[in-house]
Every structure is written in C-alpha cells, then in structure tokens.
C-alpha cells in the first residue's frame, strides 16, 4: 500500500514531504508507521534516519497512531488573548484526554498547533481540514457532539 503511494511521485528526495503527507492522510489512524518509513526509504534511496529526521522535525507528522478526527486548537497569542485556554480546558474535559492523546473510542485526537491564520475570528480550532472560529465553550462542545454523532 505504501509502495503504491510512493509510485505516484518521482523518486527524488524533494518529494519526501509530499509522500509522507499522503501516507499520513490516507492512513485511517493518521500516522506514519515504521513499515511506511522503510518503504519510503527503499523507494527514494535515502536512509531511514533521514526520514525520521524529517518526520520528527515537522509538527504535523505523527509516528504514533491517532484518532479518526484530529482536533488542532490554535495556541498562538491572538487566540490566547481571546480565551483559548478556556476552550482547551473544555475540550479536555468533554473528551477526557490531555493534549496529544486520543479518545478511547479512537474518534478524536486533541492537539495544539501554531497560528492557523484565522486570527480575526479567534479563538479558532481546525478539525481535519475544517476551521471553526469565534469559539466559545458551548460552541466547542456543540461542534464535537455533532462530529461524534456523524461518525
């Protein structure tokens, strides 16, 4: 499966970041496994340690399995000024997890991230590719409930 993804890209080193993105995005648990790293290493002919170096440098990659939905709450100053810490407390309590953890049912992983560039509507979070702005504690709970129901 990883080999198929690799084959979509030319075997040049500059494609590493895109191959890793696609591997992670298409994996149901949104992570890059050791097996994937090996396949990519074989394909691009770069050592595994280089790939791990890149993997661990960029914050969007994960080497651990994650939930179906990735919640990324912005922890940058404009969101903080508008009360993102209250939203974080709320998310932790309704999901029952700490930052970096996945809910027991595997539905959500809670993460913090740097600025999402929607500061005019702070505080903001991104769930998968959707951005939710002007968050209040109630609104955050509603959004989670909705996604929970959908899954």
């Amino acid at each position: 499966m990883y080999k198929e993804i690799c084959a979509k890209y030319a075997p040049t080193k500059d494609n590493l970041i895109y191959i890793l993105h696609e591997i992670q995005d298409t994996h149901p648990q949104h992570y890059i496994s050791g097996e994937a790293v090996k396949d990519v290493s074989d394909y691009l002919k770069v050592p595994e340690n280089h790939i791990y170096g890149v993997l661990t440098f960029y914050s969007m990659y994960s080497t651990k399995p994650r939930g179906k939905n990735i919640i990324r709450l912005c922890e940058s100053p404009p969101c903080y000024i508008k009360g993102s810490d209250n939203i974080l407390r709320k998310l932790k309590s309704i999901l029952g997890v700490s930052v970096g953890e996945t809910t027991k049912d595997g539905k959500f992983t809670l993460e913090l991230c740097a600025c999402l560039g929607v500061c005019g509507n702070a505080p903001v979070m991104m769930i998968n590719e959707d951005v939710y702005g002007d968050l209040s504690e109630e609104k955050a709970e509603e959004i989670i409930d909705k996604i929970r129901g959908r899954n």
Binding site: T12, K13, D14, N15, L16, I17, Y18, L20, H21, H50, G53, V54, F57, Y58, S59, M60, Y61, E75, S76, P77, P78, C79, Y80, I81, K82, C113, A114, C115, L116, G117, V118, C119, G120, N121, A122, V124, M126, E129, V131, Y132, G133, D134
Partner: protein
C-alpha cells in the same frame, strides 16, 4: 460572465467560512430556487473582504449594500425583502452609533484604506481567470514581456521603492538585481507563503482571494531576473490557499499565459506548489529552501545568500506573497504613483491583520506612515467594551510591544524598529488593560522555544533559559537580578543566533521590560500580578458580607477546598486552592473577588516548604 439583475458577493475567506459562510451560500441557492429567481441572481464566492469580526459578510450589487453577521436564518428574509421587493434589510446593516450604514463604501472600516495588493480581494471570484482579467489582470505581464527589457523591469521596481513585505523590509529590486546579474544557467523564484507569524493572515487571504495576482507578480519577477521555474511554498495549514493557487496555475497554463513562449515573447515559465508540514522556522528563507529540497527545515549561515546559492545551489529569490501582490499594480499604475504613497523610506501601502481586543478585527490595507492611533482607533474602531488600550504587539513573536505613548508613531519600517518593535509581516495584536505584560511576554517566549529548530545553541538553550526565568517570575519565585539577566540573555541571543527566528525572539521580552518594567518589578518584589492574570500571584476571596451561603461554590470546587455553612458563610482554604475559577464563575451573587498577590497563608506555606527542604539537605 452573466448579466443578471443582482450580484451577490459572499465573502468566503477563511474567517467567514469558519463562521458559516458556505452554509449561507447553500441556503441562498435553495431559497432563490423556491422563489423561482435563481436565474436573476449571480452568487459569487469571493476572497476575504476584510472585516472578519462582522463575519459572515456579503455585499449586494448594484446598490453595494453591505450586510454583516448574516446567519442561515436571515437568508429567507434577504431574498423575500431585498431581492424580490427591493427593500434592503436594515437590521443586517452596520449600525454606527445612531446611524445605519447601508453601502459598503460608507462603512468606516474601509474609509482610510487604500487597496493595492488587496484590490480584488473580496471583489472578484478568485477561481475565475476571466474576472481577474476583467479587472486588468495580466495586462502588466503583457506590457513587461513585450515592451520591456529585464533591467527596465528592475528599474521600475527600484523607482517604486517597494520593500519586502514579509518582515525585514529588504528592498525588492536589490534581490532581483543580484540574481539578474548572476550568469547561472538555472535560477529560481520562490513565493514565501509560509506565513507563520501568529496574528498575521494577509498572505493566506491574498492567496485565497486573488491567486492570479500573486502568480502574475511572480512571473514578472521571474522575467526580470531570468528565472524559468517558480515555487509557491505554502503552509500545509492553508489547504484552501493551496487549492486556489494550484487552480490559478492550471488556468494560466490552459490559456497560454504560462508555459512556453508567453505572449510570443520567447519567455518560458513554469511554477509548482510545495507545502510545508508545520514548522514556523520554514518562513526563514534558507530553512524554506531546505524544506523544498525535502530536508529538515534548518537554516544555514548566511552568506552565501540565496541570491547567490539558494535552491539546489542555484541563485534564488525568495519573495513574500504580499510583495508579489504589489508588482502588477506598480506596472499598471506606475512606479511614481506607488512611491507617492507612504513615507520617505517606506513606500506604498501595507496590509495589516488587526487582532486581539479590538472592535474591528480583520484585514486592512493602509498607506505606510499611518499612525497607530488611526490604525487602531479609526480603522480598527477602538477597543471592545469599556476597556482602555494598553499595548500593541507588532510583528508577532519577533516584534515588540508599543504603548499608549507611541500611538502617534507613524507605522513604517524605521520608526517601528527604533522603538523596539518591527513591521514583521503586519500582525497587529491589540491588548486591553486587563492583560499582564509579563504573562504575554512569557507566552511569546513559549512559542519561540517550541518553534526553535534547535540547530544553534543560543536559540535552543538561551530561549529556554529566558522562558525558565519568566516562569519563575510569574509563579512567585522571581529574584532580584532576574530582569537584568533576561536583558543580558536577550541581547546575546539576538547577536549570536543563526537566523531571524533566534535573532528576534527576545524582542517581546526586551520591549515589555523597556515599557512595562514596573510590572516585572511588582511580580518579582511584591509577588503580585496587578491584573490578576498570573495564577500564582493572585488569589480568590469570598466576601462574607455578600455571600448568601448557597454552597454552590463548595459543590463545584474540584479539590473541595471551600468549606462553610449557610450561617457561617463560606471560605476558601487558600493552600489547597488550584485557582480553577469555577467558584468565581458559578457564584450567583458575585461574592467572589480576584485579589492581586499571593495569599499570606500560601506564602507562609511556601516558606515552610523551603525551610523543610533546606533542613533536609543539611
């Protein structure tokens, strides 16, 4: 293009989308179909219109009516009243004191703005090449390619006085000239769309709202310096911007505006999009180049500059999105026109992102040299509620704080630098008098520690040390000499770090010490946070006169440190209190106060613990 009775422009910038703009658009389609007038109304999804705080916003032509904070439920009324009966819905218009403002051009937010880079943002459909061309798009490229020599192009940019909009303010023409003069067989142009500064979102909005403009700017730059390949490096956090610029490239290729022999001039150009994967440091040009090459985004020492040895060792120009967004207009309207705006050394306009405790958050474009007062109070509408203005952080985590004394400072590269702040990419974070500046500085430092790539030790170790001192100060363990130590560390880190991240990271701390030294001193000497933000330096207190003994606070306390009865009223056991604030939130009669300073019981407890630890060591 269609000739319809009404043009409905719905802002679909990320801010409005996050507030539900797409659902509103869907609802319009439904309701228009119900009224059987779908063929009379042109629904156009535009880029960011600017006033994110009013979002979702829309403008309806021919009248130019501006509606704000529209919800899905309002759609039926807009269609029935405005579209069918011709009576605009006044309750959705902006209310300014007693006045109702109907037309977009009269909205105060837009009054002092001059749109150059954002000219089309919020006005055209960013996914339509035709609409871009209809506003004069690709005219400049045509003129440049068919009538001008590369050196003439560089001279125009030189005359315009354009400087890099990404932060440093380096004159754009010098970069271009350096690469132009290099005889290398292969040269590259990179558009830096790795907008990481917290509080800045102009690059995102421009890429999303007018992608062809950025592409046209890149092609003019490429022609001037002799590059045939370009890269858009965009953060992975901006999926819509990535999609739009890819679409623009595709459209330009299809009609021959890009590719081989553009406009029969012999100029060939190809561009592709590269994305990051979440690393703030990749906004630094050498780190960005390494990231495109598929490596860790570590910066490398300069020189050699990218203009000499950049992507794959070839001469490379890295220009910011907004810089490229200005290029086509400079050629269409002339370098003199551009240079007539702004100050002596900072020409043209700058896009700012207004955020924080300000009424009109959003994206604005104003002439350089505008005062902070005009920017914050006229364009930005002033502070929310009854709060007073306290400080403004300019330039994100690399910038500095300015105070009420600087409100009449003109915003240009030099004036800001002199006062310890910087233009940066244009993030303007406004803070009210509730904010603790030590806490804010700690927060920025925390961001920089997290985002340091770890390659050079001044940044990796030094920033961490600064953060530890700040944490010590805000948790009540600050010592005499801490302020001086922060200054000493900050100055060394600025001088010794390898790249811009480390060189500028101490700025928020240094500038807050410069302007709010008394707050640092109060935290250290009096162990008190006068704004009651630093939890260790404040406490909660129940006022027994106001307490009605309902016990709600005690029941909501997660550590059961509140005891009492209806008769005796309730008290907080300060030593056990975790400062969660639940009691403060739930008290029905507001009998709980936040009090600055460590409670004496907690201070005594800390003292006893310290003594015990000391005895244990002996």
């Amino acid at each position: 293009m269609s000739l319809k009775r009404i043009d409905l422009l719905i802002c679909c910038g990320s801010g409005c989308v996050s507030a539900g703009a797409l659902k509103i658009k869907e609802r319009f389609h439904e309701v228009l179909a119900e009224h059987n007038i779908a063929n009379e109304v042109n629904i156009i999804e535009t880029g960011c219109m600017g006033p994110c705080d009013y979002g979702p916003v829309m403008v309806i032509y021919p009248e130019g009516i501006f509606y704000k904070k529209v919800t899905v439920d309002d759609v039926a009324e807009i269609v029935a009243e405005h579209f069918v009966k011709g009576r605009p819905v006044s309750r959705l218009m902006l209310q300014d004191e007693e006045k109702t403002i109907a037309a977009k051009k009269d909205v105060p937010f837009y009054q002092k703005q001059v749109k150059v880079a954002l000219e089309n943002c919020g006005y055209i459909n960013p996914e339509s090449l035709d609409e871009y061309i209809a506003t004069g798009g690709y005219e400049a490229l045509g003129t440049v390619l068919t009538e001008m020599k590369p050196q003439d192009v560089i001279n125009v940019i030189k005359d315009s006085g354009l400087r890099g909009r990404g932060g440093g303010g380096f004159p754009t023409h010098i970069k271009w000239q350096m690469v132009h003069d290099n005889k290398s067989d292969e040269k590259y142009i990179i558009c830096n769309g790795d907008e990481g500064d917290p509080g800045a979102f102009m690059d995102r909005s421009l890429l999303e709202g007018d992608p062809h403009r950025v592409l046209e700017g890149m092609m003019i730059a490429a022609y001037a310096m002799g590059a045939t390949n370009g890269f858009f490096y965009i953060r992975a956090e901006y999926p819509l911007a990535i999609k739009r610029i890819k679409m623009a490239i595709q459209q330009a290729k299809e009609v021959g505006l890009m590719g081989k022999d553009v406009f029969g001039s012999g100029f060939c150009f190809d561009a592709e999009v590269r994305t990051g994967a979440g690393a703030f440091v990749c906004g630094e040009e050498m780190a960005l180049i390494h990231s495109i090459e598929g490596q860790r985004g570590n910066p490398t020492p300069k020189p050699p500059y990218p203009a000499v040895q950049g992507l794959w060792g070839k001469p490379t120009v890295v220009n910011n999105v907004e810089t490229l967004g200005n290029i086509s207009t400079i050629f269409r309207k002339g370098a003199q026109w551009f240079a007539s705006m702004g100050t002596e050394k900072s020409k043209g306009t700058k896009v700012f992102a207004l955020t924080g405790d300000i009424k009109n958050t959003g994206l604005v474009e104003v002439p350089m040299g505008i005062t902070l007062r005009e920017l914050i109070f006229d364009v930005g509408g002033g502070m929310i509620g009854d709060h007073k203005f306290k400080a403004v952080q300019l330039g994100g985590p690399s910038g500095g704080c300015l105070t009420v004394d600087h409100l009449d400072t003109g915003v240009d590269y030099e004036s800001l630098k002199e006062r310890g702040a910087m233009m940066g990419s244009g993030g303007v974070i406004v803070m009210n008098d509730d904010k603790c500046m030590v806490n804010v500085a700690k927060f920025f430092m925390d961001f920089c520690v997290e985002e340091s790539c770890g390659k050079c030790s001044p940044c990796r170790i030094g920033l961490k040390q600064m953060l530890e001192i700040l944490e010590r100060i805000t948790s009540g363990y600050g010592r005499e000499g801490d302020i001086e130590e922060l200054q000493r560390l900050g100055e060394s880190i600025s001088k010794l770090s390898l790249c811009g991240l480390g060189q500028t990271a101490p700025n928020p701390v240094l500038s807050t010490i410069r302007y709010f030294r008394d707050e640092y001193e109060a935290h250290i000497r009096d162990k008190s946070c006068s704004n009651k933000v630093c939890l260790d330096l404040m406490h909660f207190n129940i006022d027994k006169d106001r307490c009605i003994g309902c016990s709600l606070c005690a029941r909501k306390c997660p550590v059961t440190c509140i005891t009492g009865s209806r008769e005796e009223k309730y008290t907080i056991n300060q030593v056990d209190c975790v400062k969660c604030g639940n009691c403060f939130d739930v008290c029905p009669v507001k009998a709980i106060d936040k009090v600055p300073g460590i409670h004496p019981a907690v201070a005594a407890n800390r003292e006893a613990l310290k003594k015990a630890a000391h005895n244990h060591e002996d």
